[in-house]
Amino acid sequence: MSNDVTVSKQEKKQSLNKIDWLSFLEKYRVVLIFFLLCIVAGFLSDAFFTTSNIMNVLRQVSIIAIIATGMTLVILIAGIDLSVGAVMAFSGAILAGVLTAGLPLWVAILASTVVGLLFGLVNGVIVSNFGVPSFIATLAIMVIARGMTLVYTKGYPLVVSNEAFRFIGSGRIFGIPVPIIIMFVIIGLMFWILRYTSFGRYIYAIGGNEEAAILAGIRVRSIKVAVFGIAGFLSAISAIIYTSRLMSAQPTAGTGIELDAIAAVIIGGTSLAGGKGGVIGTLIGALIMGVLDNLLNLMNVSPFYQNIAKGLVILIAVLIDSRFSKLKRS
């Protein structure tokens, strides 16, 4: 029996090339799986490796990747946020509502991001100040936000007619679709924050050992509230892109997106136990799922079988992943 569980970390720097190579594999195994998937996709469909399709996939992925970025922070502090989809729907509805009321675009965007942020902060306060488990707190907020969206929209999509607004979801800058740019900016920023700021490092410390973080004088509560706030804010950003793409706010927007976002985070290597992982992995996780969807559609796999295929590929990906990490250990 080899219980040498904790061996893996020690290596990083020194010793043999073989081990370095394995370290590399270990650290970037999701990336490898992703490339593998892309290569397979290229073989299976001629349309896959065209610039326009790549832009297409990236644009589709942007909404979930942005939400999953916020989810990454929440999971890093060992929490979970089930309300992201519902908050996205409500922020989108507010956006459309404000635009329909004839107010300028910047007011609408401000209103919708503030609403997203507020919902996130409420989550954070319930979780960190009242000690309610985040799963149940955000589930309650999810149900409430859904209800508020239905009440506000009366169950109908709200159509947006502001043509300038279309640019956010459908415009391009230097040929690159705007949602893609927004996505990379946000992920880049979060990557930097997590790595090079004390706020970022505290997030890891809280997830790793909350008690020790409190004793190190870290304001654990405020940081938790901030993390949930960021998740809510990023839900609103996704809502803006989504609403702009459809030029209407859907009351059902984001239904079930929380599970996809969590899946992206976990496939990307962030542990549900907190304290370990990062946003780059999450991006890759989201891309894996996005490429998979895209490929199955490109190949026109029957919808009944799409589910099966999708489940199997995810399973294979995580199995390869766990293989790699075992390889490394032994």
């Binding site: 020690q10 010793s15 004088g217």
Partner: protein, 498 residues
């Protein structure tokens, strides 16, 4: 020569980047207590984990009663008659004491159904052996103090009734009294013919019970000697590889200005009406039995109890939260490094820096250059045995983990340093270094509150000692007045001595 019950020959074990064991050979006979000694990170725990089947050695052989065996896993090790108390606890928090002791071996009514009455009765028997007579077998483990948990671990190990019992620093978390009890248990075991391997950094314990010592250094076997033929001084030299003079440095007198003042401090059932002042440059010892409230006091001073009454003042500032405590210049080295002191999954590097991040960043952005300087400084100053600072702190040996906890608070340049069992699990060489550091800090005017169940340490370092009992201070003793006897008397609930 009598046949050894256990013999390990030429054992090597490598972890990536570390050669933890390099051809180590030890043996233990029936009715013998072998003390396994060595500095932090010498490889003692690793050697024992090889015996317990947790680690597979990369080479070497193990013989039990002269027969070579290979140990496949923990269960197999138990079957071979080996039972072990790990340095880190292996208990399940939300299960009862009884369930923890018999985990995996519960008495059954029929297949699969536990005989709860027998479980309870048998547990009581083992708890009595370790002196936990009043503890109900149904108590949840999470409700026990660290020392009680340690005793439960010991009861558990005894309950296996194995031939070979390994104890990896069982006394580190025990006070004098329980330690004495445990040493008696060990003598008992010896009488009954068991072979015992005992790891400790307290050499007086070694002299009291061990028959023989074996010493490791840097993963290598240094030597073995009968206790009759060796002095404490020689033991230290074998372990450290150099001469060690004065363990306790000479202290200067404290300054006059007060550093921290506590008035009418009460915390629920833990602390009642605590009043004292500590001066700059003073080392104030705190003594008391288990449950006397030393740990709650340390936490209260650090602002951890929001519902406390009374005031804590440092340089005119009052302290109500850990953050305020840190801002006021207080640092707390907790006695529970695993749960409170360290983020085990993070690197040594980050653990050393965690409380300092606020200082070495501007607008929240960290400066890389400062970080590395700080880390290198403390790894050197405290002689932390780690081959690179990016290593996860959880993989360090127990004593080296403790040094990381110390380092991260020393880096904060505190005005008031609260040390709760600071040398728990730390080897004698490093202890001397830490004591030296404490002396220097005190000379710079830093006030040190030293909570320790290590009597020689307390007596040797304190200017003054407060004795606690049941949440109150029962005595305040000056250097001229304190001795072990007096302290025990007050700790057991004597009257206030002014």
């Amino acid at each position: 020569m009598e046949q050894a019950v256990l013999e390990m020959v030429g054992i090597s074990k490598e972890f990536p980047g570390v050669k933890a064991l390099d051809g180590v050979s030890i043996h233990v006979k029936r009715s013998e207590i072998l003390a396994l000694l060595g500095e932090n990170g010498a490889g003692k725990s690793t050697l024992m984990k090889v015996l317990a089947g947790v680690h597979q050695p990369s080479s070497g052989q193990i013989k039990i009663n002269g027969k070579e065996v290979s140990i496949h896993g923990p269960k197999h090790s138990q079957e071979l008659g080996i039972s072990i108390i790990y340095q880190e606890f292996n208990l399940v928090p939300h299960m009862s004491v009884a369930e923890n002791i018999f985990l995996g071996r519960e008495p059954r009514l029929i297949t699969g159904v536990i005989d709860r009455r027998r479980l309870r009765d048998e547990t009581r028997q083992w708890l009595e052996k370790v002196g936990l007579t009043a503890l109900s077998p149904d108590t949840l483990l999470a409700n026990l103090s660290i020392a009680e948990q340690q005793l439960v671990e010991i009861a558990k190990a005894l309950s296996f009734e194995s031939n070979i019992i390994i104890m990896d620093e069982p006394t580190a978390t025990l006070n004098e009294e329980e330690t004495e009890k445990l040493l008696n248990i060990m003598r008992d075991l010896k009488k009954q013919g068991f072979g015992v391997i005992f790891i400790t950094h307290r050499l007086e314990e070694v002299e009291e019970v061990a028959d023989r010592i074996s010493v490791l250094r840097d993963g290598k076997y240094i030597g073995s000697e009968s206790i009759k033929n060796i002095t404490r001084h020689q033991m230290v030299t074998m372990m450290v590889g150099r001469e060690l003079t004065d363990l306790f440095p000479k202290l200067q007198g404290p300054y006059e200005e007060p550093a921290l003042t506590v008035e009418r401090l009460s915390v629920r059932e833990y602390l009642h009406d605590i009043n004292f002042t500590i001066k700059k440059g003073e080392i104030l010892g705190i003594a008391g039995l288990m449950g006397s409230g030393k740990t709650p006091l340390s936490k209260a001073l650090f602002g951890l109890y929001p519902h406390k009454e009374g005031t804590i003042k440092v340089g005119g500032k009052t302290v109500n939260t850990p953050r305020e405590a840190i801002d006021a210049g207080i640092a707390l080295v907790t006695d529970d490094r695993k749960d409170e002191g360290l983020v085990l999954g993070m690197s040594v590097y980050e653990n050393l820096l965690l409380p300092s991040y606020r200082r070495i960043s501007s607008f929240g952005v960290l400066h890389k250059r400062n970080k590395e300087k700080i880390v290198d400084r403390w790894i050197k100053a405290l002689n932390i045995k780690v081959h690179h600072s990016s290593v996860e702190v959880g993989t360090l040996s127990g004593g080296n983990q403790q040094k990381v906890v110390l380092g991260k608070w020393l880096q904060m340049d505190p005005d008031v340093l609260i040390l709760n069992e600071p040398t728990r699990g730390i080897d004698i060489g490093a202890k001397a270094e830490i004591y030296q550091i404490m002396k220097e800090l005190a000379e710079q005017g830093i006030a040190i509150i030293l909570i320790s169940s290590d009597m020689p340490e307390l007596l040797g370092l304190s200017h003054r000692i407060l004795v606690m009992s049941e949440g109150t201070i029962t005595a305040e003793l000056d250097k001229e007045h304190f001795d072990q006897e007096t302290i025990f008397q007050y700790a057991a609930g004597g009257e206030l001595h002014v």
